[in-house]
Symmetry: C2
Subunit: 336 residues, 2 copies
Amino acid sequence: MSEPPAGPYDVITMGRLGVDLYPLRAGVPLAEVETFGRFLGGSAANVAVAAARLGRRTALVSRTGADPFGEFLHRALRGFGVDDRWVTPVEGYPTPLTFCEIFPPDDFPIYFYRRPKAPDLHLDPGDLDLDAIASAGVFWMTGTGLCEEPSRTATLAALRARGRRSRTVFDLDWRPVFWGGAGGASSDGGSTGHDAMAAARPHYAAALARATVAVGNADECEVATGEREPRAAAEALLAAGVELAVVKQGPKGVLAVHRDGTVAEVPPVEVEVLNGLGAGDAFGGALCHGLLAGWELTEVIRYANAAGALVASRLACSSAMPRPAEIEALLAGQRP
Amino acid sequence: MSEPPAGPYDVITMGRLGVDLYPLRAGVPLAEVETFGRFLGGSAANVAVAAARLGRRTALVSRTGADPFGEFLHRALRGFGVDDRWVTPVEGYPTPLTFCEIFPPDDFPIYFYRRPKAPDLHLDPGDLDLDAIASAGVFWMTGTGLCEEPSRTATLAALRARGRRSRTVFDLDWRPVFWGGAGGASSDGGSTGHDAMAAARPHYAAALARATVAVGNADECEVATGEREPRAAAEALLAAGVELAVVKQGPKGVLAVHRDGTVAEVPPVEVEVLNGLGAGDAFGGALCHGLLAGWELTEVIRYANAAGALVASRLACSSAMPRPAEIEALLAGQRP
């Protein structure tokens, strides 16, 4: 990926990047896992991979440790066809790790090794190619990127550079543990959940005022807007500034509401879930693809749902991101 | 291990405990390793396992995260026959991880995930059963236990409880990265090596004044005494307070000097090295065993050398600790 890009990128994502160390079998508690496979991971990275798999010219803005796992991530990104030119090393902090437990159909605890600070939270406004970000077809950032400085300022600077251009996506990605929530599992939302949400909300509001698309589940909508009920959450996201609100309701499907009055309600694609981790990122990459294609809203969401379902039916995350033919086959099989 | 101990322990070790995530093949750079095996690790834990394999009643004093990897470590310790009653969880810090690269015969970089603080450095004097420590046949502590509070105070309190009893062993275990050295690999000893040594030396001196046996390689002797030359280092360790100095010289073998004038110089056992990690801990466990047996010094060191060589010839560490018959067979094969 050393040749200069031919015109603007289709998709630039910004945020979390790390090594996922996942059990090679489902249903085994982490305390009993004997061997782990290592994969590229991190939400922003996975979305970039998902978009690249769909043929989009994609780049990631992130950072790694200055260590062998950082080298691996560069190779993996290039292998997936994601431009890694804006992925830079940080001295002194190791490349983050994520472990998970895989208990289908709906329990996938994850354990982060991102302390004392993840390199991707060291993104500085000076690291950004604001012209490239401004001209990309889609710019995608995440809630985690707002949790610490200098990443928060950098993320808001990138949003500002977009000038409220369409397809400026805020993935509401909510990880309470990064906001002072206790524990290491993403499922944490107990006694510290409300404190963590209160800490995050003003920063979510600042980003919503600059983004044009918001994507999130009930917890994520609650952080962003205080609302959990899907329709109310969508309206609150629109009121906070975006043009398009995409509310993921798990087994109830997805509700998307556009400021112009268009509404899409799409049921989930039925698959046997093996590992739910990464499904949201597959959804995200496919959402980018569909928005760029200019499809009808219902078609975009249906396509993104199918991409998410395919990854949920597979053990891996980044390496399981589907190709267009796989999504089309799944959708075709669903139609009468 | 819930039954009360029948009299004093043969060996109590105190210090580092964590999960080792090791490549399942040698010769592969970490950036290219696709699957990792997980093992019990940490120097003090490995020494305890090595002593237990030799039939000694052994306990470990350490801490883990309050997480699934901590559970695994308890199970693994019990599986190896090491009493885990003094291994307690710490809230808020994850169980530490160690990755390695295996480039035989002599390059085994390791990468620690022990930040912001390892649970085993949260050992507090109040956590200690000082009567059990005082009455154990061998008490074994390490230099790493001195690098941070409250572990430093706890380690010195344990030494004080021994009252300079024989077989109070200071494993000089030198990991500059834990003392302000840069980088994540144990091989770090560059520009920050001297600063890290200067920070550590007073604490090493305080422990040497309470220990009766010191064990270390050239780097470790230099931290403790300023001397790297084996004979000078041994004399400096005796002058600093111990009765027995054991200086490991790598391919040149081991020099042991007792205050009573006994000297043992033992050449290395020739084996094909596959993974040098853990060999020093095997040496340590066998040293405990030989000292407890009351053998001649040369016999003790020869036996410990053979134990170390066996582990160096194997890929794993803790799970590769040898049984007595294996050590005896190796020694028997060496004799004309």
